[in-house]
């Protein structure tokens, strides 16, 4: 374990006690968090003064905030001083030099996902050889995007090359004071993605962090900012499909989306961070703040997520529907197995007239896991004629698992219509028996039913992602059915 270079970023004190720090080159900051850490991060990234100021302000606020404890999850206290907040892209010598050095169990999973060998290497953090040059792949697309006027680059680049856009939009959707983890992220984020789609432009391809695989190494505090200018469209895919093997590790990202008049952003996530083992050892704490701002009239933001990973998920991709007749959507599959805990859902905040939102949430709990949907639908007094429809279904596999539903509905406009439906049940014996009597094995039958249960969400995903998501469910459910 200690020889796995991925642990460089995994920052829990225990790991460092194992003697990591001495082994690592000077580009990793020692654990600890104070103003100097932030100055150091900013300096290493050669940031302009305003960026540093912004971080320091966020840090000042962070220090006054307390860790939230309302979610339906349990974990030992996190020592924020035991975390190292900056690690430069790894040098090749710290990585496993070949797939032979990678945990075979991990490779088995890649195999099942049908990931090509070279990509497997990348995902496992193996130094990438010349055969698959992610940089050139990246560049090819970049040219094509540049032709359309689309900006798609790392956050660090954007800070230098598009400071006016960053200054205008950064923190405008998720203010630094929004919550404890968002404040932390604002202070210490290392990198992330930046997307700008110009007016009346349909982004010529689906943008994906997958193409910038090296961005995955930028750490657990990434920051994503997507701006869709008037009349534009973009579909953004975020694949955290690399099952990381690790001790508990904090991942506190912030994603901000801005849609101006008539713009549409479709944001899809397949999240499969390492969930910990069967006994609940290890795994990612995925404490993420994602929010979309439908700032313009008739704008639309659609979140689709398939969450199968992480030891603990705390995540509520939300839409603030400010623009008249703007639309928010949230489609989610959250699967928990073993001792995973998920408290996830969405917030739809209706501020403008004629705003509409749809929430479809499918929770699957297996093993001894805890799976909670938490949602807020708020209709402000000015949101004349607003509509929300929420459907929230839970499926229980096994009698040790738990499923919870906590929907908050706050309505202050008499012309609004809000409808929430939820159900919780297990797989029906009749369905299972029917399939098995047709010759389908138990496990396949369960997979089939679970996939059917999630269908409404999968159909919102881009094709390739949908296929991957289905496979993921199958893998994640392994051993869940007796």
């Amino acid at each position: 374990m200690a020889s796995n270079a991925q642990d460089i970023e995994k920052i829990v004190g225990r790991e460092y006690a194992a003697g990591f720090f001495t082994e690592i080159d000077q580009d990793t900051v020692p654990p600890g968090l104070d103003e100097d850490t932030i100055r150091l991060i900013s300096a290493k990234k050669n940031e302009p003064e305003w960026m540093l100021e912004w971080r320091l302000k966020a840090f000042a606020r962070f220090q006054q905030m307390r860790e939230p404890n309302w979610a339906h999850v349990e974990y030992p206290p996190i020592d924020f001083q035991a975390i190292s907040y900056y690690s430069a892209p790894k040098s090749d010598k710290d990585r496993p030099q070949s797939l032979d050095e990678v945990d075979p169990k991990l490779l088995e999973t890649y195999e099942k996902l049908g990931i090509p060998l070279e990509e497997q290497k990348m995902l496992a953090g193996v130094a990438v050889d010349a055969v698959f040059d992610s940089v050139s792949v990246h560049t090819t697309f970049r040219d094509k995007l540049a032709e359309a006027g689309v900006i798609f680059c790392s956050f660090s680049e954007a800070v230098h090359e598009h400071p006016e856009l960053i200054q205008k939009y950064l923190g405008s959707v998720v203010p630094v004071t929004d919550n404890f983890y968002a404040a932390l992220n604002s202070a210490v984020f290392t990198d992330g993605s930046f997307v700008y789609i110009p007016k009346n432009t349909r982004c010529p391809m689906e943008l994906s962090t997958y193409f910038r695989i090296n961005a995955m190494n930028t750490g657990q505090f990434e920051r994503t900012l997507v701006i869709a200018d008037e009349g534009s469209y973009v579909s953004y895919l975020e694949g955290c499909t690399a099952p990381m093997r690790d001790e508990n590790q904090l991942h506190a990202a912030v994603v901000e989306l801005v849609a101006l008049d008539d713009a549409e952003i479709k944001y899809s996530t397949v999240q499969n961070w390492y969930p910990g083992d069967e006994e609940g050892r290890g795994g990612i704490y995925n404490f993420v703040t994602k929010r979309g701002d439908c700032r313009g009239a008739r704008s639309k933001i659609s979140w689709t997520q398939v969450e199968t990973g992480s030891a603990i998920t705390w995540k509520y991709p939300s839409c603030v529907l400010k623009g008249e007749n703007s639309v928010g959507e949230f489609y989610s599959v959250a699967l928990t197995n073993n001792l995973q805990q998920a408290d996830t859902g969405t917030k739809m905040v209706h501020l403008g007239r004629g705003t509409r939102s749809t929430i479809v949430s499918k929770g699957i709990s297996a093993g001894r896991s805890q799976n909670a949907y938490r949602g807020l639908v708020r209709i402000a007094a000015a949101a004349e004629g607003a509509r929300n429809y929420t459907q929230c279904d839970s499926l229980l596999l096994g009698d040790r698992s738990a499923a919870h539903t906590f929907p908050y509905i706050e309505c202050r406009n008499p012309s609004a219509q809000v409808e929430h439906e939820a159900s919780t049940s297990r797989i029906s014996d009749d369905q299972l028996f029917y399939l098995r009597s047709r010759g389908i094995g138990q496990e396949d039958a369960v997979n089939m039913i679970v996939n059917g249960f999630c269908k409404e969400v999968f159909k919102e995903l881009p094709m390739e992602f949908a296929v991957e998501a289905q496979k993921l469910l199958g893998i994640s459910l392994e051993g869940a059915v007796g």
Binding site: D399, A402, F406, I409, C411, V418, E419, E421, S425
Partner: protein, 435 residues
Amino acid sequence: MDAIDRILADFAPDGPLAEIRQQAAEQVRLHGMPSQRQEAWKYTSLAPLRDIAYRAATAADGDALDAAGFSAFALASASPHRVVLVNGRFRADLSTTDALPTGITVTSIAAALEGDAVALAGIYAEQSAPEAVFTALNAALLDDGLLIEAGPDAQLDAPLHLVFVAAGDTPLLRAPRVIVRAARNARLRIIEEYRGIEGDRGLTNVVTDVNLGEGAVLEHHRLQSEPDTCAQIGRVRATLGALSTFNSDSVTFGGALTRIDIEVALAARGARCRLNGLFATDGAQHVDHHTLIDHQVGDTHSEELYRGILDGRSRGVFNGKVVVRRDAQGITAKQASNNLLLSRQAEIDTKPELEIYADDVSCAHGATVGELDAQALFYLRSRGIDETTARALLTYAFAEKVVETIPLDSIRHAIEERFIGARALSELEDLVKGA
């Protein structure tokens, strides 16, 4: 709440329950008044009560109303079994319990305390969670209320009608306790009606404890009709034995600030409950209903329907929680919260929750907030009914659905008068039936 601090400051309970009451007072001091930072009080602020100089009602306050004053109330039932409490104090002279069937007794707690106080002692020992601070307060102040006991197979021939009258010329803190114990196969129907004289500005902090033996049935109708100057914080806690049934209807029209918690523990197989609720508010009224249905064991069943109609600047809150414990298999639980907003200043906050730790369950909930059905409205108008009448009719129908199971015409009439302005509907219905 400064006034309550003041009440507890020179608090020196006496009598056989002194120790328990002292402990309860400690609880209240320890936790203090709930704030909106607590999830259970997220949507309800107690700030409006903060500066009211409450005084704990004394035995003497029980005499605040005479028989003539009492007879001015048009009560929800004319049952011969009537028990009246004025300012939380049992009033024998206004009560009629002579005709109660064998096996059913109603005793005032004040009287019970004179006798065997030990039996009562155990009942007050359950205040721990900070959310239950008002239950602790009730226990601290408790020296009167009702003990209702039904022996095995005992059955009421007419509802037992409890009338709680708020009648203070200064703001009183009333803390009556109602204890209902129904033995095996007993069947009871109890109406708890809360009324008050105009201008009362007190706080009714009432707790009803229900314990149902095997196969027992309790139909419990709770009517909050206090004037819009009163505050009420009430709690109903029911523990259900095997195959027992608890049906609760909670209807709230009155009160400036009303908070009612109804908690049902389905503690043995075959137990079932139905919780219905209706709140219709106007002006600056604030009504907060919290329900908790706890499926502790398998083969227990629950159903719930709450409806709110909010007009004026009023605010309604519904929080319905259904818990299914580990290994409680074979559960069905249904829950619905429907709400109508009639005004631009009104607000509804609803939160139906499911917390499920077993897998052989069939649980569902639904919540809606909206306007009246446009199709139904057009249908009625196309028949020649003007829009105002059509709306009133549909609003009435929306409300009536919740109380259709209550065999008390008086409640339906109250809804009818509230939304239609006359009893035209039921009179015609009767006429058609009679003809």
